[in-house]
Structure formats: structure tokens, C-alpha cells
């Protein structure tokens, strides 16, 4: 027998299939099909956790996803330690290892329980009021102590080793929930020919039929009908059934997110198999059959282990064959708990008393209970409970007053009624309507193409549920255009139970707090008194009550408690419930792992990595790489134990003394083609293009309409109607977008075609005095002399026999060539260039050297030396604006008052008085370092490097009126001292710019 509380004649599990598991190191036996909760209960274990704030002993409240108390850690191995798993949802597997949480040193003896004695100090708002001074103590003292004392499980300290997958799916009808309503709706929709997805969070569909012993559908016991219906659905090729799958989010346009748990129930999951799968389902129509959630009774001492929801006790009995106690009392305010008492009685469990808060309950179930010999105490209240780590007795008094009576019981089932699970409906932006008659929020107006059926729609009679669901399923199928294939037979369904009625808030007669705390929200330890106090302290809206008391803010999101809290606040405020408001339902319905949401998008797959065709060569030659957007770029090439500084200094020196070879393939490239290409370029760039000769290049500046620099790059004219445009490495997509925007929407009359060619071309830059000697042997049919091919020219030719575009351009200030060859030939051409380069003493250089060399020449990098508020004039590039032009993007923006006003920050150079100090990029610049804080900032450093070629540090900076300050002394205050600097020109090397011409 798997557990002393397992009943041989009850339940649906196979007694022969036993599984071993441990809880806090103690070994137990359960059965295949058990949850951890049912297996623990079968072994008489009710105490499973300590509460969040008061460290009170807690047991299992529910049998499903709404469980607030029974949170445990599941430890598979060092990396797989999942905290806060609801024991009621975790399926048992052989070897499962569970541990309790939030207790020290042990679950049964927890030092933190002292908090419970100090509870008068821990009332609602305690933290806000108490830990206010001194401010610094919050971070160092209060928060760490509170976090240690209050809390849930411990997060794993290793990366998640599991795989997660995700899928997009489309269907005509998505049915969420596979209880009687969901199954009937899915059946009707499927038989009408619709493509159906049916999702249910349980391993087996059936929903409430799991415990509703009296249900009969189509002449069969409800559970049997459910399993037969599942088999019928599974046999259809237009139906997909997803079990262990929670619909957790309802988004726009009928997109519903489902989380499917694939391996958490397995003893030895395949390490390669995904642990969970995220489904993003786009449905023609959504049928919500999400059921209802039972509320507990609010009375003093209602959190003792052994006290649980009536339907939960019944589920453990009827499905798992587990008695939750030997003497099980019942406390209720609605009919459905009577069925629980009757089921227990039938299995020979003593039911010493059934306490009903109602004065005169009537109906079939009440009669049956009396006939079965159960003592029904109508108009009574439970005002207290006894037992340290487990319930031992309850105290009962008449609501109207009278003597107290103690009833021995080791378990108590309570039910205050059922709350329709309208979470997904509400997430879909549907409007809820409060039904004052039954005290329930029910689906009102739908905002999307969806329908609610069954208990979540407030329908409580099983016959009506099935009827309603069949109709909804057929209608959904018809609406989405499915071919009708005949109507589904309408099975007759009946159950003696109704789920309406009930109470919210404290039970009558149990309000007085003498017997102890009456919990509303178990997981966040919020009592009825806390809610009342929040109202007394001025909270009027339920949203404020919620935040002040934290009710409903725990991981269970108040599934069992929200309506209670609302009712208490409404009563205190003497307002109707809907006027106090209902807190917003937000996704996810139940906690979803980050793994499921992230899927494959982490680690190496977090984002695409872009590598140039020459990447492998750089890797083989010891390059250190840096990330530039998604690109991996060679940063520098250290030799023989060089550090970065030494390597960059050598590279910088060599480029200017001999030559350097640089992989510039990441440069953005756009081909602008068409009879109106030049006109289009005139509009997109500040420069004049019409008269640029074929074969020549120009440095272009692109503005936004506001007049600020958006991008820059060298543009070569290959033909009258063809431009080879380059952009910054990071800017290519947005520049193309910007061009397309104007071309499609403002200048659609221009005949121009734009093509991204960034990855089409590998670009090999050869820079330095020997650059021409290096490329000359490889270039076919082009006169490379300075006269025939001067600086800023371009030729279409062959290099190494490969079609090429050869640019004579320079980002270093040296004579330079950039060879563009088709990407597939990039590596081969690079190797040929390198072979030539080695003969001339050239180095391969990386992006750091590229940066230093361009800064020595005062060439800006858009995004580094500009920040989106810099005009061409600010950057010293006013010469690049075509003075005679009447239109280009940004022409009007440039004339804005602020942009032409004096006092703008202008790009200048800075030299530190101590030449060895390299400024920090971003450092602020002031005129007087002795002024009071906050100082007046004149500007900031945009680029700063050690310049090996100059023999001193160099920097570029944006400084107020910078160009009028040449030679002026300014200051850069830093945490460890002020650095003196002198304002200079932005050009530090070869000021006359002669070297570029050879």
C-alpha cells in the first residue's frame, strides 16, 4: 500500500505501480499518476511549508494550479533546483526529491516562527512605516534581513541546463480547458470539421469530473465519458490535444500563449528533449472553458495543516484514492461541500460534523447528508482551530450566539463557493459584469472573437454546461468557415451538484479575531484584519488595498483570495462590490518559466552573430575580437605576448611607416541605381552630387529632417545612374530604411532602386605609404598613378582575377585603397593582399588602430563624436553642405533658431598638458575647476586615445564655442584629480593633409 492513507477501494490509480520519492530527506512511496501533494497526503504528510511572513506551518490547500501554500523545491541535480513548485501540480516520478522552503533549521522546528508571536508589529504597511530611517540602512541592513526572514524558495545558482522550444500554431477553434465544457465544445467544433486545438493543464483531461462523483453524461460516469471523448477527439486529424498545457496569456487578435510542460513529470528525461514548449496560437475563435476556483472559508485559524478546500479533499479521495484524514469535518456556505462529505462517508471516513454558515440550507444534497447520518450544524461558525503542526480540533459556535463546542478532527474541508476563472477572458480585454444575485464576476462583453462556456461563464448545472458548450463549439466551427459535417449528438448530462451560491469575506459568526488570524491570502500572509486596517487607513480602491496589504500579489495571484479581500473592503466601505473595483488580471495565469518564454534565444542563439568572409583568417592570426552591433570585428592582432596597448601602438606606427591591411567588410553598403539616382542623392545628402564625375568619390553627410547628423560615408559614382554608397557599420539598416521612406512616400516620382549590398562585398583596406606597391601587382587594367587615380576615385576592375570595385580612399590620412570583391572571394583576395603586404612590411590591423588613426586625423565617427544633436557645422563639416542647393533632407531643420544660435558645442581637439594621460571618453569639461558643485559643464570628451605617432595622448571633444577657444586651457575634473587640457585643432597628425595624396 502506497501510504497509510491510501484507500484500496477508492481512486483511479494502479496500486501496483509504486514510485519512491523523498520529502526533506524522508523516503516515501506513491503511485504512478500521483501528484507530489496526493502522494504526501497518502503518507499522512500535511505539513509541507512555512508561510511567507509569519513562518506559520502550512499544509496543502488545493489540488490544482491555485495552490497558495504547498510550495516546495524540486531538486533533480545541482543545476536543476526548481523553487516554488506547487506540490499539487508536480506529478510524481520515481526518485523525485522535494524539499520544503522558508524554514530553518527544519520544517517542524522553524526559528522564524517567532515572527508569528511578533505579529502585532507586522501588520499591513509595516515595512513602509517602520524601516524608513536611516536611509542607508535599508540597503545594508533592513532589506537583507527582511529578505532572509521572509521569502519563498531559493533560486538555483547555476545556469539552466535545459532546452526550451517554441511553436506558432493556427487553428479555427482553440478550446482552453478540457473539463466537461471544454470537451463538449471541442467535440462539437471538431465534428463540424473545424481545426481544433484543445489545451488542458492537467496530465489527463476531465476537469471537475476528476472529483464530481455524481456526474453522469451520456449514461456514463462523467470521468469515463471524458476519457472516451478524449479518445474520440484524439482519433481525428483536425484535432490537436495538448495536455500539461496552461493557457497563460490572452493577447491581441486572438493570440493565446500556452505553456506545455514536457519533462517535469519524467523520472529520467532525455537531456536533449525540450523541458517546456511555448505555443503561440492564433485562433479563429477561442472557447474559454477555464472552470471555477473554489474559495476557502475565512475564519480564525483557517491556515492549519489539514484544512483544505472541499473539492481538493474530494479530488484526493475520488481520483487519487487518498483520505485526507481519519476524522474529516466540513465547513461550508454552499452545497458542493456536502457532496464531499457524502463521498468521504461512503468510503468509511468519519465525518464528525458538517458546519454550514447558512441558517437553513436546503436541497437534495443537504437531505442526503442528513440521511447518511452526518451531523449538519446549520447556522454555525468555526471560530477557532487547534493543533500545532496539524489540525486536531475545531471550535464551533452558533452564529446567533451560544455555547462553544469542540469537535475533534484531523482534517477540515471548507468551501465558501466558487469563483469563475475569468482570468483569460479579462486578459482578452473583455468586460466583466458583477452578478449581485450570486456574488460573482462573470464574463460580460467580449472584446475579441471568443466565447466562455461552463463554470467560467457562471453556468453551474452540468446539463446546461454541456448544452451550452456543444452549442458554442458548433457555432465557433460554423463561424470560422468549417465545412459542416453534421451535428454532434447531444448527450444528456446531469449531476446532483450546483456550484452557485456561497459567501465572500469572513464567515458569519467567525469575524471576531479572538481565535487567531483569519487568513484571506495564505501565500502573502494577509488576514481579514489586515484588509480592514488598510481601509481604515484610507485605502479606498481595491488597487490600493492590494498594494498596501500585498493581498493577491503572491505567485498564486490571489486565485483563492481576491474575492474575499474585495468583499471585506466593500463591506468596510459600505459600497457595492463592483464600486470598489476588481484588480486587473494580467498574464501569466500561473507562473511561467523564463526558459519557456526565451526558448532558444539565449547563449550563442541570443542574437545572430555576423562574421566577415575574412573572420577565419583573423582568428588564425590571433586577432582579439570586439562586438560591433551583431558583427564580430578584429580589434587588434597581438604578437608574442603583446598587450593591447603594445599591439595597437605597433599597428599604428607600422601603418604610417609602411602599410596596414584592414578588414572593412562590415561597412554598410547601399547601391543607389536609376535614371534619377543623382537627384535622389541630392535630396538625401547635404552634398552636391549632380556634377560628381563618374569614377570619383565624395564624403557625404546624411541629416534627419531636424538638421542633425544621421549618418556619413564615402560615396562613389560608378556610372551616371549608379552610386556605391557606404554607411557606418551600425547604420546600414536604418539608412536604407530612411532612404526607402523618402523614396516611397515623399519622392515616389523618382526612378531609383535601392539595394542593400553590405554582405555582397568583402572590403579590404590597404593603407599607408606602401599601399600602392602592395595592391599594384594584384590589380588588372587600372593605372594606379596619383595622376590617373587620385585620392577619392573609384574604378571597376579585376583584382586577383575577380571582379572588383577599387576605391582610392583613406580613413587613416595615408594613401589608401579599399578593394571591394564579391564576398565569396574575400578570403582568397585578402590572402593574396596579405602575401604582398608582408613583402612590404605591412601589418594586419584591427578596429582599435583604425579608431586611433582616424582620430589623429580628426575624422569623426557618427554615434561616437556625434550624438543625434550635432549639426554638420558643430562637427566642423559645414563645407560638406551644398551651398547652392535648394532642397535636401534637413535643409530647413538646419535653419532652426537653436541650430544657428551662438554658443553651440563644437568639435575640437584636446591635448592633455601631461602628454601621458589619456582622457576618459564621456568625461565632462569645465572652465574653472574650483567653482562650486554642480559645475557648469562646457562639454565632454567624445574620443580619446594614446597616439603612438604623435607621442602624446589625443582627444576629440564637443565644447561650447569650441572653435573660438583654440589654445585655451580647460579642465577635466575626475574622481582622482583634475586634468588640465589645451584646446587644439581636431587634426593632430599631418595637418596639411599631404600624405593622403602620396
Amino acid at each position: 500500500m502506497a501510504g497509510a492513507f491510501r484507500l484500496p477501494a477508492a481512486g483511479r490509480l494502479d496500486a501496483g505501480r509504486t514510485l519512491r520519492f523523498t520529502f526533506d530527506g524522508v523516503s516515501h512511496t506513491g503511485l504512478a499518476g500521483d501528484t507530489l501533494a496526493s502522494a504526501l497526503l497518502a503518507n499522512g504528510v500535511h505539513l509541507v511549508g512555512r508561510s511567507f511572513k509569519y513562518h506559520r506551518p502550512r499544509g496543502i490547500l488545493a489540488a490544482g494550479a491555485e495552490e497558495p501554500n504547498a510550495l516546495v523545491g524540486i531538486h533533480r541535480d545541482a543545476a536543476r533546483r526548481t523553487p516554488n513548485v506547487r506540490a499539487t501540480v508536480q506529478e510524481l516520478y520515481d526518485g523525485l526529491n522535494a524539499v520544503s522552503q522558508n524554514r530553518w533549521p527544519s520544517l517542524s522546528f522553524d526559528v522564524g516562527a517567532l515572527n508569528d508571536l511578533a505579529a502585532p508589529f507586522f501588520s499591513a504597511g509595516f515595512y513602509y512605516k517602520t524601516f524608513m530611517w536611516p536611509r542607508a540602512a535599508w540597503e545594508r541592513l533592513y532589506e537583507p534581513v527582511i529578505r532572509r526572514a521572509a521569502g519563498l524558495g531559493v533560486a538555483p545558482d547555476q545556469p539552466d541546463p535545459d532546452n526550451y522550444s517554441n511553436r506558432f500554431a493556427h487553428c479555427d477553434v482553440l478550446v482552453v480547458g478540457a473539463g466537461p465544457a471544454g470537451l463538449a465544445a471541442a467535440l462539437a467544433a471538431a465534428e463540424a470539421g473545424a481545426r481544433v486545438i484543445l489545451a488542458d493543464e492537467q496530465p489527463q483531461p476531465g476537469g471537475s469530473l476528476r472529483f464530481e462523483s455524481g456526474a453522469v453524461i451520456d449514461g456514463k460516469p462523467g470521468w469515463e465519458w471524458a476519457q472516451e471523448t478524449v479518445a474520440r477527439l484524439a482519433a481525428k486529424d483536425n484535432v490537436r490535444i495538448l495536455t500539461r498545457t496552461t493557457g497563460f496569456g490572452y493577447y491581441a487578435h486572438n493570440m493565446v500563449a500556452l505553456a506545455e510542460r514536457l519533462t517535469d513529470h519524467l523520472a529520467a528525461p532525455d537531456a536533449q528533449a525540450p523541458r517546456e514548449r511555448l505555443w503561440q496560437v492564433r485562433a479563429g475563435r477561442v472557447v474559454l472553458a477555464t472552470g471555477a476556483i473554489e474559495r476557502h472559508m475565512v475564519f480564525p485559524g483557517n491556515d492549519r495543516p489539514g484544512i483544505m478546500l472541499a473539492a481538493a479533499g474530494r479530488t484526493y479521495l475520488n481520483h487519487y484514492g487518498v483520505a485526507v484524514g481519519r476524522r474529516v469535518a466540513v465547513y461550508t456556505a454552499c452545497d458542493s461541500a456536502y457532496a464531499a462529505a457524502l463521498d468521504l462517508k461512503k468510503q468509511g471516513i468519519a465525518v464528525p460534523v458538517l458546519v454550514d454558515a447558512r441558517q437553513a440550507p436546503q436541497g437534495g444534497l443537504v437531505e442526503q447528508a442528513r440521511e447518511a447520518g452526518i451531523e449538519v450544524l446549520a447556522g454555525h461558525a468555526v471560530t477557532g482551530t487547534r493543533g500545532r503542526l496539524r489540525l486536531s480540533a475545531i471550535e464551533v459556535v452558533p452564529v446567533a450566539g451560544g455555547p462553544q463546542r469542540r469537535v475533534e478532527a484531523d482534517a477540515l474541508l471548507t468551501s465558501a463557493g466558487w469563483t469563475p476563472a475569468v482570468h483569460l477572458f479579462s486578459q482578452s480585454r473583455g468586460k466583466l459584469a458583477y452578478d449581485a444575485g450570486t456574488g460573482r464576476f462573470l464574463p460580460g462583453t467580449h472584446a475579441q472573437n471568443a466565447v466562455c462556456v461552463g463554470a467560467c461563464n457562471g453556468t453551474t448545472d452540468l446539463g446546461m454546461v454541456v448544452e451550452e458548450a456543444l452549442h458554442a463549439g458548433a457555432e465557433a466551427a460554423g463561424q470560422t468557415g468549417a465545412q459542416a459535417r453534421g451535428a454532434t449528438a447531444r448527450p444528456e448530462a446531469r449531476s446532483p451538484e450546483g456550484w452557485s451560491a456561497g459567501i465572500a469575506g469572513p464567515a458569519p459568526g467567525a469575524e471576531a479575531g479572538k481565535g487567531g488570524k483569519a487568513f484571506v491570502d495564505f501565500q502573502n500572509d494577509v488576514t481579514a484584519k489586515d484588509i480592514a486596517q488598510a481601509v481604515r487607513e484610507g485605502m479606498r480602491s481595491i488597487e490600493h488595498v492590494k498594494r498596501f496589504t500585498t493581498t493577491g500579489m503572491a505567485t498564486d495571484q490571489g486565485k483563492t483570495s481576491n474575492l474575499h479581500a474585495l468583499a471585506i473592503a466593500a463591506r468596510m466601505l459600505d459600497k457595492p462590490v463592483p464600486e470598489v473595483g476588481l484588480t486587473t488580471f494580467r498574464p501569466p495565469y500561473t507562473p511561467v518559466t523564463f526558459g519557456a518564454l526565451v526558448g532558444h534565444g539565449r547563449g550563442a542563439l541570443f542574437e545572430p552573430t555576423r562574421r566577415t568572409p575574412i573572420h577565419a583568417w583573423a582568428e588564425a592570426h590571433g586577432a582579439v575580437f570586439e562586438d560591433v552591433g551583431q558583427w564580430k570585428r578584429a580589434w587588434y592582432f597581438p604578437k608574442d605576448g603583446e598587450d593591447m596597448h603594445a599591439a595597437v601602438a605597433r599597428e599604428c606606427r607600422t601603418v604610417r611607416q609602411a602599410a596596414g591591411i584592414f578588414d572593412a567588410s562590415t561597412l554598410g553598403k547601399i547601391e543607389v541605381v536609376g535614371p534619377d539616382a543623382a537627384r535622389f542623392m541630392e535630396l538625401m545628402y547635404t552634398n552636391p552630387w549632380a556634377r560628381l564625375e563618374v569614377g570619383r568619390c565624395r564624403y557625404g553627410i546624411m541629416l534627419r529632417e531636424d538638421g542633425f547628423i544621421y549618418d556619413d560615408g564615402v560615396v562613389g559614382r560608378l556610372a551616371e545612374d549608379r552610386f556605391h554608397v557606404t554607411t557606418t557599420t551600425g547604420g546600414a539598416p536604418r539608412v536604407l530604411h530612411h532612404m526607402e521612406d523618402y523614396l516611397q512616400t515623399e519622392f515616389p516620382h523618382l526612378k531609383v532602386w535601392l539595394t542593400s549590398t553590405t554582405e555582397q562585398w568583402a572590403v579590404i583596406a590597404v593603407q599607408g605609404p606602401r599601399a600602392r606597391d602592395i595592391v599594384a601587382p594584384l590589380v588588372e587594367g587600372v593605372d594606379l598613378s596619383d595622376a590617373a587615380m587620385p585620392h577619392m576615385s573609384v574604378r571597376t576592375c579585376r583584382v586577383c582575377g575577380v571582379p572588383a570595385r577599387l576605391f582610392r580612399i583613406s580613413f587613416t590620412g595615408e594613401r589608401g585603397f579599399e578593394i571591394n570583391v564579391p564576398a565569396d572571394h574575400g578570403l582568397a583576395v585578402w590572402e593574396a593582399v596579405w602575401a604582398q603586404g608582408e613583402r612590404h612590411g605591412a601589418v594586419a590591423y584591427g578596429t582599435e588602430t583604425m579608431h586611433v588613426l582616424r582620430a589623429e586625423k580628426g575624422f569623426i565617427i557618427v554615434g561616437q563624436d556625434t550624438d543625434g544633436t550635432v549639426t554638420p557645422d558643430d562637427a566642423g563639416l559645414a563645407w560638406a553642405i551644398g551651398k547652392k542647393k535648394t532642397d535636401f533632407v534637413g535643409i530647413r531643420g538646419l535653419r532652426r533658431t537653436d541650430l544657428v544660435a551662438p554658443g553651440r558645442r563644437q568639435l575640437i581637439g584636446l591635448k592633455t598638458l601631461d602628454p601621458s594621460i589619456v582622457l576618459e571618453e564621456g568625461a565632462q569639461i569645465v572652465a574653472d575647476p574650483n567653482q562650486k558643485v554642480p559645475m557648469k559643464m562646457l562639454g565632454f570628451v567624445t574620443s580619446a586615445y594614446w597616439s603612438e605617432n604623435c607621442g602624446h595622448s589625443i582627444a576629440l571633444a564637443l565644447v561650447e564655442d569650441g572653435r573660438a577657444r583654440m589654445g585655451e586651457r580647460l579642465y577635466v575634473p575626475m574622481p582622482d584629480g583634475t586634468i588640465e587640457v589645451e584646446v587644439t585643432s581636431t587634426v593632430f597628425f599631418d595637418e596639411k593633409g599631404e600624405r593622403v595624396h602620396g
Binding site: A252, E740, Q744
Partner: protein, 97 residues
């Protein structure tokens, strides 16, 4: 995730394929270099940002790459119409509310 009907592809496609591109029906002034500060302000800075029906530009950037216009209700996040660049605003019920 929204579904957006591309008037060029003539298909409903998921939002992931699209990129929002600001308010629609704001034409770049003909003689932009000569317009007043006020006119430039109206053209470049002022946007209607309505509660209700917004006319906005979208681009099917991971599809046909075309820019088009859409009328979307900013309260319900529902697309009421999408139409090609250059076409006039469609007449919609409830406009101006």
C-alpha cells in the same frame, strides 16, 4: 501580437514582420527650405496622438518592404483599415469620437 493586413501583399501577417513609422498623411512641404518656423514646427514636431482612431504609417519591412497607411483604434488596438500610400483616408464609422 497584432495581425496586420498588408495592402500590397494582400495578406494578414503578424506584427513581427512590420515596423511602425509614425503618423500618416503628413506631407513634406513643397518648398520646405522657405517655410516659416511655425510651419516647420507643425510639419516636424506636432503630432495628433489621438485617443481613438489614429492614422499611421507602417512598413512591411520583413515582407514586401513597402510603406502603407493604417487606421488603428488606439483604445482597442484594432486595425480598422490599411491602405496604400497615396490613397486618401478611408471614411470610418465612429471617427472623431
Amino acid at each position: 501580437m497584432l495581425l496586420i493586413y498588408c495592402p500590397y501583399c494582400e495578406e494578414e501577417r503578424p506584427e513581427l514582420e512590420f515596423r511602425h513609422a509614425g503618423e500618416a498623411h503628413i506631407a513634406r512641404p513643397e518648398n520646405i527650405a522657405g517655410i516659416s518656423d511655425e510651419a516647420f514646427e507643425r510639419y516636424f514636431f506636432i503630432r495628433s496622438n489621438p485617443k481613438g482612431i489614429a492614422y499611421e504609417r507602417w512598413r512591411h519591412i520583413h515582407g514586401c518592404a513597402r510603406f502603407f497607411n493604417a487606421a488603428r483604434d488606439t483604445v482597442s488596438d484594432r486595425f480598422l483599415a490599411t491602405y496604400r500610400t497615396g490613397e486618401p483616408k478611408p471614411r470610418l464609422e465612429g471617427e472623431g469620437q
